[in-house]
Symmetry: C2
């Protein structure tokens, strides 16, 4: 049995949802409301002490880290293959998934966090927020969230993260010059990882991702959105919607 | 033909050297003197625009990123296998190699950089150093090196990086409770990646890695050092030694 602990279909949670749907795998979905900091509650930390979603549980064994989970799923459920058989193409795939993890996703996450922090913290007293922060296992994340809430990031930091996003879209645009998909001829975990991040960027980052600056990325984005597995993954419920529904219509 | 562009046998360069030696692969060694910033010179940037070593060139095709290179080598030259056949063990391996890339290695690199920066910059005029900095492709690295040289990192930053190293050694100690090697029963790229970072830590970080605080890691470190491939990798020349020899005995 496969179980997935995940947030709304965006970022790292979307990354694993895209892979599961592409392979047509059934799984038990456990929604984690990261805007309510549920990923730092004791019952979730018992599953993943890092306090991060998504987490896959396969027949009782916990697997963490979205990039590792997707490689695992492709090894255990090889059809359809999402890792190119050609080793060079596979290396290109891994350079991109690694770049997403180390540069693109952190930049996007910081910008997103800055934009939404007050919709989260406004619902809490300072004491409640401090208590939630104190439970975050990783010091760097605790610090990042504290700063965003307290004073916000500087214009300089925000500009640097936007430059990273532009660099990443530039890498994707360059990669798509030599094949329909990011690693080359085959749809792969590189497309999955990049789309998980870029899904909602058109319109919101029009100076970085648009028909003018990244026509191949825009075409790829349209082809991604037309895939049934992508449609299915994006249709997965959001924990915030679920929580709002639960509040509006108590059982 | 395999060619490797690499620095001294430490950190990410050691990571790939360990893998090549373990598999008994012949390769052409191209030494890159990173203390002279050769990795940012135009002839190296033509090979890897990111300006980072190591770089593998296999029959003319460039492969970057040490973690990706090692996965590639294991796919193309599968004997002896350095990725566990068991998918769960393989996922444990990848969680560790990813942790090394994202947390452990950056922390170790910042500390090392702080300790050695002036042995590098003292040889240069401020103008020469500024010119070398300006060639660094990645903005974050440029900034990191500039700060280390200009004012040094704060005691707070250094302490945070030391806590990350302690966390990493703690993860290794915990992993070794359930098997002789870091991913479990089999020697893998997790051992390779962790040893590439921890090779020189005993003695230098005795509060973090010692018989008292990490006995299993110390035992593993001894078993690592006894492997012929590890001995061979550590015996690879250092570009600084080569440069010093060249200066001392001009042709």
């Amino acid at each position: 049995m496969l179980e997935l602990y995940h947030a709304e279909p965006a970022s790292n949670s979307l990354k694993v949802l895209l892979c599961l749907k592409e392979k047509g795998l059934e799984f038990v979905s456990h929604l984690v409301n990261i805007q309510a900091f549920e990923q730092h509650e004791p019952r979730f930390l018992a599953i993943n002490p890092d306090g991060q979603v998504p987490v896959l549980v396969h027949d009782g064994t916990v697997i963490t880290e979205s990039t590792v989970i997707n490689e695992y799923l492709d090894q255990v459920f090889p059809a359809p293959a999402l890792r190119p058989a050609d080793p060079i193409e596979c290396a290109r795939m891994r350079v991109l998934t690694k770049y997403v993890d180390e540069y693109f996703r952190p930049a996007l996450s910081q910008i997103g966090w800055q934009l939404m922090i007050h919709t989260i913290t406004d619902r809490l007293t300072p004491e409640e927020f401090a208590a939630k922060l104190a439970r975050i296992p990783r010091e760097e994340k605790r610090e990042k969230w504290r700063i965003a809430a307290a004073q916000g990031y500087t214009a300089e930091q925000m500009a640097a993260w936007r430059r990273t996003l532009a660099e990443g879209i530039g890498k994707m645009e360059a990669a798509l010059a030599s094949g329909p998909w990011l690693a080359g001829p085959h749809y792969s975990l590189a497309d999955v990882a990049c789309f998980a991040m870029a899904a909602n960027m058109p319109g919101r980052f029009s100076d970085i991702m648009s028909e003018t600056v990244s026509p191949r990325v825009m075409d790829w984005h349209r082809r991604m959105r037309a895939r049934p597995a992508v449609v299915a993954a994006l249709a997965m419920p959001s924990p915030m919607q679920a929580a709002a529904r639960a509040r509006g219509r108590p059982a």
